[in-house]
């Protein structure tokens, strides 16, 4: 028996192109900085759920989750306490210096 390695441990191999909608997590996370302004702009008129933000910025919801949660972690966004009837929280811009 040898320890099994997962797919994300293939250092040094020839990079492959991502199939549509399945980007590497590292790549998605790297885009957080550039998506910040677009997401904050989408929220100017009020709080939105993740799928609504995804529609506004025209990116997949699972990628928007990374960005919204990253922006929440670093104080740009905050959730509204009650979830919608469909089971989604809405996120709003936090007033801060530079926002």
């Amino acid at each position: 028996m040898t320890p099994t390695t997962g797919g994300n441990t293939t250092g040094g191999t020839t990079p492959r192109e991502a199939s549509t909608g399945n980007r590497d997590v590292r790549e998605i996370v790297r885009d957080e900085q550039i998506m910040r302004r677009r997401i904050l702009a989408a929220l100017v008129d009020g709080p939105l759920t993740v799928p609504e933000i995804a529609a506004a910025v025209e990116r997949p919801s699972h990628e928007v989750m990374f960005w919204v949660m990253g922006l929440r972690k670093y104080g740009w966004l905050a959730e509204i306490k009650e979830a919608t009837d469909e089971g989604y929280y809405r996120y709003q811009v936090v007033e801060r210096e530079g926002s």
Partner: protein
């Protein structure tokens, strides 16, 4: 360093071992590779079966470990090797990795993290959210000190002769911080706009993205931030430092002189530049045509220098360098460049109508009348200056422009893109031809050319050879010769080299006269703008040291980490999204008539798209935002790693375990289906320091209401070569079931299992409690998972308790109860094969039944899950056994270090 015991790893087994030994009075060294003690336990939500808060019971042990008087802890350090001392003890070599943060000064305020421009997956949140390159791993981290993750220097930074941080300003552009990006370049040079247009961008040659679709438009991003700053009416003023009372003269206002003056002025020096030309800028002003570098851009760059208080005296030629000292200058920098044209030395070169390219370009740039309308122009040379001259002649209305180059096209010193652009503008290139002589009586009428068969001799020296049988004649009214440039240094009274460049120490740039320094092309001969900028920075650094009485010879200038390996960078991702490089913005005309810029500006969208392609090679971008943000001045980019040798009486290996990589069971869809997560990820979602605001689906943020658990993922499974039961999966899943039902009272929880192993005090009761709360346990192994359009997941399983039929069930979130794997790294600490592992690659216990914790090596013990998976109480118990073994060994061997 001498210790009774070395404990490798600071999870619960390591901490317990260290604390018990410390309490017994032994001196203990704990080495932890992460930036905090605590291991995996501190990242858990609660522990089973008591449902105590994992943080609440971990943090006191973490603090006790750090503060124990008999325990020293090295976090962010790795044991590189352990070898016997032959006396029952061991020597350990430990590498303390640099945090790039002064631990004593850091207050753990996270300001660096908040300002950081680089986002990477947060491994402490199981990759479900981002962290920053500058980070504090998690809120309960002990010690609470930041770390800056640096994998090395990014290739773009490493390859910039000027010392600019391209990765840094690209990352700041990506964050929309255009002003900060501009200011970062200003830290190096005031020539932001000029370099944004005229730099040949060696950074782009080494950009790792070039291994994919093509490099980032790094130079044009610099132009973008310069345009953004210079286009503002409310640009922030340059801050003037307090004068330090010392004066420096700079002779020459090219890239080296301006950069040196800027750097010295920033340190409070009173700086005066003496420039022989009517306007400052050197080659930027006098040679590079306006279609590449408009004068107003140079003006803006020079204005940075004057704004900080540097005085520039133009039309002021300095011949006697030594005499400047009498003018009250404490030091002098000579940066006069290479403004003297090299002659061809062929017959007819002195005819009217034959000009040097430098004189020609200078006249045009200074607005003098140069009438080429209707004239046939021959440009001689194959370098960038020749190309500039040819394209300039085209714009001045020449009837035709021919260019003769000794080198064939592939060998021409000019850049390929410039040759292409010249051709696109209608210049006829005769490559591989040399001038034999110019024809004409008083004025030049043409040139006789012959084929050049070889430009350099075998030693690499310029020594052209010709085929005299192959000749041609070209008629022309004007000849522009670009045969090279040299320094004009005869009058300076300084030592020179054979090529008239000034002689100086290549590292300190100090001449034989201690107060006179030199920089730029006048030292190196003609090079790139960035090289001259780098020389100017170096000279300013050395002059500052000289005037402070500091030693120059061993001064560390631009000391950097090694460059990061591109293969390592590309290996960080399995797949790459294709992102097309920005196309060239050069708008070419076959018959250009003016000196308007050929390259258009970047739009903001283009700039952001371009910056978004950056791969963050070095991880930290060196944008210096953390330096500005840190209120404690704790960021230390020059921090070095350290190798530590320790003599220890015994070793306890507490290196823990690894989690099974869930994507190694592809039928469950982990990594492809966004709502399939691992047990560790669910634990993070349930923890108080969770990555989300609640338990949510990663696919879309929906609160799940029908959650499935698939047990034994990667354990008890011969298909992944792991026949062992992972022991903890059943109970952590049961724990999570209860926590989910508490957090989401309306959610259904279904557990697909083979059998439930609840062996331990109170464990079966804990399991029954979960059932009683409503968790649905279905006996059946799941064979596969598929995804529906709404992100829900359909599980296909054998329903064993209902006849064994194949059944499907839909859920909106699936948790894989992943098993654990051995951490075989412990074996690497010893010489090859010295430390025995068991049949399953865990650290072997020589006599597991009667002598737990004892490895095959005397004095080396194993604690916790490093010897086989254990839950927390068993890990603590096992650590106690290892401690007892170690204490017995220490007493027996009498290797205890006296207090």
């Amino acid at each position: 360093m001498k210790y009774d015991a070395l404990v490798v790893g600071s999870g619960i087994g390591g901490m317990e071992s260290a604390l018990k030994l410390g309490d017994m009075g032994y001196k203990v060294l704990v080495v932890e590779k992460e930036s905090s003690v605590g291991g995996k336990m501190i990242l858990l939500s609660k522990v089973f079966p008591t449902l105590d808060c994992a943080s609440c019971i971990s943090t006191p042990k973490m603090a006790a470990t750090i503060h124990h008087p008999n325990i020293d802890v090295l976090t962010y350090a790795e044991v590189e090797g352990i070898r016997s001392d032959g006396n029952g003890g061991y020597h350990a070599t430990i590498r303390q990795k640099p945090r790039f943060v002064d631990e004593a000064a850091c207050t753990g305020c996270r300001q660096c993290e908040m300002a950081c421009s680089v986002a990477v997956p947060d491994e402490f949140n199981a990759g479900m959210v981002s962290r920053r390159a500058a980070y504090i791993a998690f809120p309960q981290v002990v010690p609470k000190k930041a770390v800056i993750e640096r994998a090395g220097v990014s290739p773009c930074i490493f390859n910039c002769p000027a010392g600019i941080k391209p990765h840094g300003y690209v990352a700041l552009v990506r964050s929309g911080e255009y002003d900060k990006a501009f200011d970062l370049v200003l830290e190096t040079t005031p020539l932001v706009g000029s370099l944004g247009r005229a730099c040949y961008a060696p950074c782009e040659d080494e950009c790792t993205r070039g291994e994919l679709e093509g490099p980032l438009p790094i130079r044009r991003l610099k132009r973008f931030i310069a345009d953004a700053r210079y286009g503002r009416d409310d640009a922030p003023p340059v801050e003037k430092p307090e004068p330090n009372g010392k004066k420096v003269a700079v002779v020459g206002s090219g890239p080296a002189g301006l950069t040196a003056a800027w750097q010295l002025a920033r340190k409070g020096y009173s700086v005066k530049i003496f420039e022989a030309a009517p306007k400052p800028g050197g080659m930027l002003r006098l040679a590079i045509p306006a279609y590449r570098l408009p004068n107003d851009v140079v003006d803006n760059d020079v204005a940075n220098v004057t704004a900080i208080g540097v005085e520039i005296a133009t039309d002021t030629r300095v011949d006697d360098i030594a005499a400047l000292k009498n003018g009250g200058f404490d030091a002098v920098l000579v940066a006069t460049g290479t403004h003297k044209a090299v002659q061809l030395r062929v017959p007819g070169e002195d005819l009217d109508g034959v000009h040097s390219a430098l004189d020609f370009l200078r006249a045009v740039k200074l607005g003098e009348t140069v009438d080429l309308a209707g004239k046939r122009v021959l440009v001689v040379g194959g370098g960038n200056v020749a190309i500039d001259a040819a394209r300039t002649a085209r714009r001045l209305g020449a009837a035709s422009v021919d260019q003769a180059s000794l080198e064939c096209c592939e060998e021409m010193p000019a850049h390929d893109f410039e040759v292409e652009e010249a051709r696109a503008e209608g210049i006829t290139l005769h490559d591989g031809w040399g001038i034999d002589h110019f024809t004409g009586e008083d004025r030049v009428h043409g040139a006789e050319l012959r084929v050049c068969t070889c430009v350099f001799n075998p030693e690499g020296r310029f020594h052209p050879e010709y085929d005299e049988s192959q000749r041609m004649s070209l008629e022309c009214e004007v000849v522009v010769v670009a045969a090279g440039m040299s320094a004009d240094t005869d009058a300076f009274g300084l030592e020179t080299n054979g090529n008239r460049t000034l002689r100086a120490d290549p590292d300190t740039l100090q001449t034989a006269a201690p107060h006179i320094f030199v920089a730029g092309d006048v030292v190196t001969g003609p090079t790139m703008i960035t090289t001259a900028v780098g020389q100017g920075r170096r000279a300013a650094f050395m002059i500052d040291r000289y005037l402070h009485g500091a030693e120059l010879d061993r001064a560390a200038f631009d000391e950097a980490l090694p460059v990061v390996d591109k293969g390592d960078v590309l290996g960080r991702q399995d797949v790459y999204d294709r992102r097309e490089p920005l196309e060239s913005a050069a708008a070419m005309s076959a018959a250009p008539t003016d000196f308007g810029e050929t390259e258009g500006p970047m739009s903001e969208v283009e700039a952001l798209d371009g910056a978004a392609r950056c791969l963050d090679c070095g991880v930290c971008s060196e944008c210096h935002a953390c330096l500005d943000a840190c209120p404690a001045d704790a960021i230390k980019f020059d921090m070095q790693g350290e190798e530590i040798e320790a003599e220890v009486g015994s070793v306890i290996l507490a290196t823990g375990f690894k989690l099974f990589p869930a994507d190694a069971k592809p039928q469950y869809g982990y990594g492809r289906f966004k709502n399939v997560i691992t047990g560790m990820q669910m634990d993070r979602l349930l923890a108080p320091t969770r990555p989300y605001n609640a338990v949510l689906r990663p696919g879309d943020g929906k609160v799940p209401d029908n959650i499935a658990y698939i047990m034994c993922t990667g354990s008890r499974d011969e298909t992944v070569e792991n026949p062992l039961c992972s022991r903890i999966c059943c109970m952590y899943s049961v724990k999570q079931n209860q926590l989910i039902m508490g957090a989401l009272p309306l959610a259904d929880v279904t557990v697909y299992y083979i059998d439930i192993r609840a062996v331990g005090k109170g464990y079966d009761e804990f399991y029954e409690q979960a059932r009683g709360m409503g968790a649905n346990f279905v006996k059946g192994r799941v064979s596969g998972v598929t995804e529906t359009d709404n992100g829900n997941l359909v599980l296909r399983y054998e329903d064993i308790e209902n006849g064994g039929s194949l059944t499907e069930a839909e859920h909106d979130l699936v948790v894989l109860a992943v098993g654990v794997q051995p951490n075989a790294d412990a074996q690497l600490l010893f010489a090859d094969g010295e430390l025995a592992l068991d049949d399953y690659y865990y650290v072997g216990e020589a006599d597991e039944d009667l002598n737990p914790g004892q490895t095959n090596l005397p004095g080396v013990f194993v604690a916790g899950s490093a010897s086989g998976v254990k839950d927390i109480p068993d890990s603590i118990l096992h650590a106690g056994a290892a401690v007892a073994q170690a204490a017995a060994h220490l007493e027996k061997a009498k290797v205890k270090v006296p207090a």
